[in-house]
């Protein structure tokens, strides 16, 4: 289903600084009114790896991604992408948001959506050049959606749409890809395909950060995990961080002995 294409060559070693993590947040606090939704979050997500952000509902996972992108104001703290502050790092970043915010009735084809990934590179007022169009076509091919290039975006299924948005991110030729719940509400085949694609991207030297709800899947297939519930409860190797105890702590259920004490 996903095409093994001539993969984009691995990033030259100079671009991916071995020392700089893909994402480095320090002391990030984001409040809504007077309640913190993120509190003093410290996390380092390594370069060239597949990382997941996990946590219960309302844990602030989406908010953290949006804070990394400058879409929400931070009360305190700072964010570095590949060692650079956000404003200098925009060309290195690609973002795949949660799918709801888009107008599915918009008269735009799949190919045009993917091409939007090249808009920043093309610059204001200019048309897309041949390189841009080739890169977009290759990105579309890589997620296996070339056959759908001329379809209107609303005609696609959930899994197909997700692939198109991932293709848009690929077209941006970014070093760091941030994705908000890309696996939510899509079929298992597409999920497997996407996971494989993410692995390939990491092998090329890119960094992929994903907000994910399925802890078992993260433990099985991801390198790195950040366990989040308003504050960072653990950041490191996925299997080391996502222990049973840590998960219970994050999701709020009291440990076994206390349950007995309460019942007394």
């Amino acid at each position: 289903m996903f095409m093994k294409v001539r993969a984009t060559p691995a990033l030259p070693a100079t671009t991916v600084t071995a020392h700089a993590p893909a994402v480095d947040v320090r002391g990030v606090t984001v409040s809504y009114r007077s309640t913190p939704v993120l509190w003093d979050v410290d996390a380092e997500l390594p370069a060239g790896r597949l990382s997941a952000i996990v946590g219960p509902n309302g844990a602030g996972k989406s908010t953290l991604l949006r804070a990394m992108l400058g879409l929400v104001p931070m009360e305190s703290g700072r964010v570095r992408i590949a060692g650079l502050p956000l404003e200098q790092a925009r060309d290195l970043l690609a973002y795949v948001p949660q799918r709801e915010a888009v107008d599915w009735n918009f008269p735009v084809t799949v190919r045009e959506v993917v091409a939007m990934g090249r808009y920043r590179a093309a610059g204001w007022f200019r048309r897309l050049g041949r390189t841009d169009r080739t890169l977009a076509a290759e990105a579309l091919e890589r997620v296996g959606m070339t056959a759908f290039a001329r379809r209107q975006i609303g005609e696609l299924s959930g899994g197909q749409r997700q692939r198109v948005f991932v293709a848009r991110a690929l077209a941006q030729q970014a070093e760091v890809l941030l994705m908000d719940e890309p696996f939510a509400g899509i079929d298992a085949r597409t999920q497997a395909g996407l996971l494989g694609l993410f692995g390939e991207l990491c092998a090329e030297g890119r960094s992929v950060v994903v907000v994910h709800h399925d802890i078992a899947a993260v433990r099985a297939s991801f390198d790195h995990a950040l366990l989040l519930n308003v504050r960072a409860l653990g950041c490191g190797d996925a299997r080391e961080v996502l222990t049973e105890e840590a998960i219970l702590r994050a999701y709020g259920a009291p440990p076994a002995e206390d349950a007995v004490a309460w019942a007394r």
Partner: protein, 296 residues
């Protein structure tokens, strides 16, 4: 050029100028903001007259742009308080600004030959008589102004095509890649204000709103490609201009109203008969889906 031809040409130019912007207003769900801005430009016209004693197009456009900005900023400010719902904010600001304009006209504008009525439905019948000389050729002033506006709108939409497309489709993505959705929104509304004020004299505010929304809505039912949508909207506005003029002559009624009706007729036709999104097709499809169940 005969007077009728000038009238139809002016109407068609107005339609084109509006139809270039309309699809973006409809798709961005700010159609009524376009309505608001079209009304809010009235105090701008009055102010320019009071301050500079002129109705020269450039000055008037500047006044209109100013009040369009005031309108949009005021609506945003009310919304930002969190205490006023967004549509309520629109419905408060533009009547207030329009009231300022009306008061200005009744109080101070006796010398100005700006009747309130003409601001609403225009005096397109008089357009051929106000002429300017361009390159030695006498041309109707309103027609020239509108031709310029068409060129400006064309330039705007052409140069910023991909930016407008991306920011309309996915504003959040656009923000992250630095495409400035808010800035483009404001630019769009500014263009609406300039178009509205230029068309005031000819067709009045209501027809401007009609030409912004109805052709674009018609086109939305007929196609799934943005570029085609803009082209169809322009075409519908031309149909409106020609058919409207014919209708007005036949029934001896106001041309602006007739044009609005003609565009509406196109919309109704599209609503019923559009190949993919029309009601007839949908009813047939629904019937086909039900029949197998009935047969089972």
């Amino acid at each position: 050029m005969t007077d009728t031809a000038v009238i139809v040409l002016t109407a068609a130019l107005t339609g084109t100028a509006c139809a270039l912007l309309g699809p973006f207003l409809v798709l961005r769900r700010v159609a009524l903001l376009g309505d608001a801005v079209s009304h809010a430009v009235l105090p701008g016209i009055v102010l320019v007259w009071l301050v500079a004693q002129t109705r020269a197009p450039l000055a008037v456009v500047a006044g209109a742009a100013l009040f369009a900005v005031v309108c949009v900023l005021a609506i945003d400010a009310l919304r930002a308080t969190g205490l006023v719902p967004p549509d309520a904010a629109i419905g408060l600001v533009f009547p207030a600004l329009f009231s300022l304009g009306v008061l200005g006209v009744t109080r101070y504008a006796d010398g100005i030959h700006l009747d309130l009525d003409s601001t609403i439905y225009g005096e397109i019948a008089f357009v051929p008589f106000a002429t300017v000389t361009v390159a030695g050729v006498p041309l109707a002033r309103a027609t020239v102004v509108l031709a310029v506006v068409v060129a400006v709108n064309l330039a705007l939409v052409g140069l910023l095509w991909k930016e407008l497309k991306a920011t309309t489709f996915d504003p959040e993505f656009s923000r992250t890649v630095g495409l400035r959705p808010v800035l483009l929104s404001r630019l769009l509304l500014l263009a609406v204000a300039v178009t509205a004020v230029s068309a005031f004299e000819a067709v009045g505010a209501i027809l401007v709103v009609t030409l912004l929304i109805v052709p674009a809505a018609t086109a939305y039912l007929l196609t799934d490609r943005l570029a085609v949508m803009v082209a169809v909207a322009v075409a519908v506005s031309w149909v409106g201009a020609v058919a409207g003029n014919a209708l007005a002559t036949a029934t001896d009624s106001a041309i602006s109203g007739a044009m609005g009706l003609a565009c509406t007729a196109c919309f109704v036709l599209a609503l019923l008969a559009a190949p993919r999104h029309g009601l007839v097709v949908r009813w047939i499809r629904r019937g086909r889906r039900r029949r197998p169940a009935a047969a089972a």
